[in-house]
């Protein structure tokens, strides 16, 4: 009896507490006073060693010149993904002022959470972003026309190949035929049937929402001349071009040129795959260990490299609404993306600052490092993930249908794309 009484009391108390907790939560958002406030700020940097090295030097330079507005930098805390950690920090109200690794796909969600400061709030915000990045900046505008992220750096993805393995497969390593789907399939066949490598190429076949950015999307961007997955709140991929790309990958998996099981290390570095879809970071990573070459992603008709688009794999900088000294944060953001710091970033990491015509902005660098020139040229033709509501849910639904039809061949490609398009139309329009 007493036990029952206690249980009832406990449950009642729990429900009362929960109701009280859920009823609260309204308040102000800082407004224009916050955007002019100055003081010490915290920033988060990506945890890759090259970016950390650049970030720490940048912070040191800022702090030397601005001792009254000290910046404290740290790596993004460990979590299953950066986006989860940032999302949790927004909810908890302890997000830093700036995160130099904000994924564009996560921006709509952070924005919905009220976690981001529109950079247009600063008098020179819009002008600064558009003059630095040029026309490509508009891809990063939110549906309300505001910039909640500063386009920072791109890693335009291309096909990296291992010349030694191609030679072993009887393919011309200096000029491998990879520009059309037929050529790519033929080269892949030679690689696998000769035993030069277990797979011609090994994109991750797993079901994380972002994996399509490194198999379907680059080829789709190329095939369509730069169309995003969703435009005007409608899916674009249920089209002849979308089907051509999906059919190409379906053939790669069906013939065993691409593997259906995830490789737990780096298949390209381990010589298990002769090709990989990568950004310019790969030069620093594979430069000394693999005899590599680079080509644009293939298209059905073999579009010329100078006209080929790809996925940008950009990482941006966003300002978070928990920031008290937003005036300082904006100045730090401009400092960190200035021509000088962008040059330092390029030098340190090999990643392309999202500046208009990056190749001509840093001629000395590209003269000294000609291998980066191809990626710099490609950087001018990149496509970003669409900035739409429910962005991650859209990519997950797309991935699920793609995986079912293309990787595992359980359904046909046409109906999978139609099904995904239906779901995406419903989500993007919400």
């Amino acid at each position: 009896m007493n036990m029952k009484k206690t249980t009832t009391l406990g449950l009642g108390l729990a429900l009362a507490l929960s109701t009280a907790a859920c009823g609260g939560g309204n308040g102000g958002d800082g407004g224009s006073e916050a955007t002019s406030a100055t003081g010490p700020i915290k920033i988060w940097l990506s945890n890759n060693p090259e970016e950390l090295a650049w970030g720490n030097k940048m912070v040191e330079a800022w702090n030397k010149a601005n001792p009254d507005q000290k910046v404290t930098a740290q790596e993004i805390p460990a979590g299953k993904s950066s986006e989860e950690v940032i999302g949790a920090a927004i909810t908890a109200g302890n997000a830093p002022c700036l995160v130099f690794n904000t994924a564009p796909a996560a921006v709509p969600q952070f924005e919905k959470q009220g976690g981001l400061v529109p950079l247009d709030s600063f008098a020179d915000g819009k002008e600064y972003i558009e003059s630095r990045t040029g026309d490509a900046a508009t891809q990063y505008q939110s549906p309300d026309g505001k910039y909640y992220q500063l386009p920072w750096k791109a890693n335009p993805v291309m096909i990296f190949y291992n010349k030694d393995l191609l030679k072993k497969a009887g393919v011309d390593p200096e000029n491998p035929p990879l520009s059309t789907y037929d050529e790519f399939l033929d080269t892949s066949d030679k690689i696998v049937s000769s035993g030069a490598a277990q797979a011609a190429i090994w994109p991750a076949p797993s079901s994380e929402f972002y994996q399509s950015w490194f198999d379907f999307y680059p080829l789709y961007a190329a095939e369509t001349g730069g169309t995003q997955l969703v435009e005007d709140d409608k899916a674009t991929f249920n089209s002849t071009e979308g089907k051509a790309v999906a059919d190409f990958w379906a053939t790669m998996y069906e013939k065993g040129y691409a593997q259906k099981e995830a490789y737990k290390a780096d298949s390209f570095a381990d010589g298990k795959a002769a090709m990989a879809i990568v950004g310019p970071w790969a030069i620093a990573v594979y430069g000394d260990s693999v005899n590599w070459g680079v080509a644009p992603v293939p298209t059905s008709t073999g579009i010329a490299p100078e006209d080929t688009y790809t996925f940008s794999d950009a990482k941006n900088v966003a300002m978070y609404s928990a920031c008290k000294a937003q005036g300082t944060a904006w100045e730090v953001l401009k400092f960190a993306t200035s021509e000088e710091q962008d040059g330092a970033l390029l030098e340190e990491t090999g990643q392309m600052p999202m500046r208009e015509d990056v190749a001509s902005a840093y001629p000395d660098y590209f003269k000294a490092n000609p291998e980066y020139q191809t990626f710099a040229d490609q950087a001018a033709r990149t496509v970003e993930v669409p900035n739409v509501t429910n962005s991650i849910e859209i990519w997950q639904d797309f991935r699920d249908d793609y995986s079912k039809a293309v990787i595992f061949g359980e359904t046909d490609v046409d109906s999978a794309l139609a099904d995904a398009a239906d779901k995406v139309d419903g989500l993007a329009g919400q």
């Binding site: 729990a14 507490l17 959470q113 009220g114």
Partner: protein, 292 residues
């Protein structure tokens, strides 16, 4: 009056209070909040952001119950339970009985069974990946008999493999529970049975099994709870519930919907349904196992 409110031993309340507060804050409050969230159009926001979170009745539940991915995840867990629970009970009881006897190297075996339990899942999963990946040790042993598609990308084998993995990983803990329970089974019962002509199997079935029934109830309930919480294995071993959701669990879906995709309302609805389903299963099991 005071006695009616505080009971005959008011000091007892003071002793019980810290745990009661802990239970309310860490368990009851989140459960209450999850139930509340599941009936509202809810998403996480920064502190101080004013948003409308209207009551939506059963909308989240309707959406979840009509979602084929959710059906699949619950079915996957059912497959998991059908394999994992009986296997756990049988193996841990048999091994505990064996280890309770005079076996050479008893401590060595006890350590062997217990090490997987205390090892981090991430590390142990890496070993299983080495064993069961396409070019892994098991397939090399099996040669032409290796399944095609391979274990981890085979929709018929992925979930049974996870069930086996969890059984193996948790076995040490359940053996320990049974070993403790076996200490309470009187030796004289075995002696009497032996005098009556019972063999080893007869003693096991008629003395050991009924003698450790309370422990079996606990093992079954804990195994069921493990199944309800299944996340790490589909997340790591089969790369997010693959292939095509064949090893996705409800908790993995909650993570994807609630955390990755920013829909904690539907995630909470899945959680509440999961909790109800597993309370019913656990209750039925308890009644069944304690029927006498």
């Amino acid at each position: 009056m005071l006695t009616t409110v505080l009971g005959r031993q008011p000091l007892g309340l003071a002793f019980a209070a810290p745990y009661a507060v802990f239970l309310v804050l860490i368990f009851a409050y989140p459960v209450g909040l999850a139930v509340w969230i599941s009936f509202h159009d809810y998403f996480f926001t920064a502190p101080g952001v004013a948003v409308d979170r209207p009551f939506v009745g059963l909308d989240n539940y309707t959406a979840v119950l009509g979602d084929p991915e959710v059906h699949k995840a619950f079915l996957n867990v059912a497959v998991f339970l059908v394999i994992n629970v009986p296997l756990t009970v049988v193996l841990s009881l048999v091994l505990a009985t064996a280890l309770n006897g005079a076996v050479r190297g008893r401590i060595f075996f006890r350590v062997c069974y217990f090490v997987p339990y205390i090892s981090a899942s991430v590390a142990v999963v890496a070993v299983w990946l080495f064993l069961f990946s396409n070019g892994g040790f098991v397939n090399q042993l099996l040669g032409p008999l290796a399944p095609d598609p391979s274990w981890l990308i085979n929709k018929g084998l992925a979930m049974p493999l996870i069930a086996l993995f969890v059984t193996w990983k948790q076995l040490g803990f359940f053996i320990l529970l049974y070993l403790a329970a076996l200490q309470n089974v009187g030796k004289e019962l075995y002696e009497s049975a032996a005098m009556d002509g019972a063999g080893k199997l007869g003693s096991f079935m008629n003395i050991t099994v009924p003698g450790v029934r309370p422990a079996t109830t606990l093992v079954v309930i804990l195994s069921i709870i493990t199944g309800a919480n299944l996340f790490t294995e589909p997340y790591l071993l089969t790369n997010g519930g693959g292939p095509n959701g064949a090893s996705a669990s409800p908790v993995l879906l909650m993570y994807q919907r609630g955390i990755e995709q920013g829909n904690p309302d539907t995630a909470a609805a899945i959680g509440v349904l999961l909790m109800i389903a597993f309370l019913i299963i656990a209750f039925v099991n308890k009644r069944f196992l304690e029927r006498d």
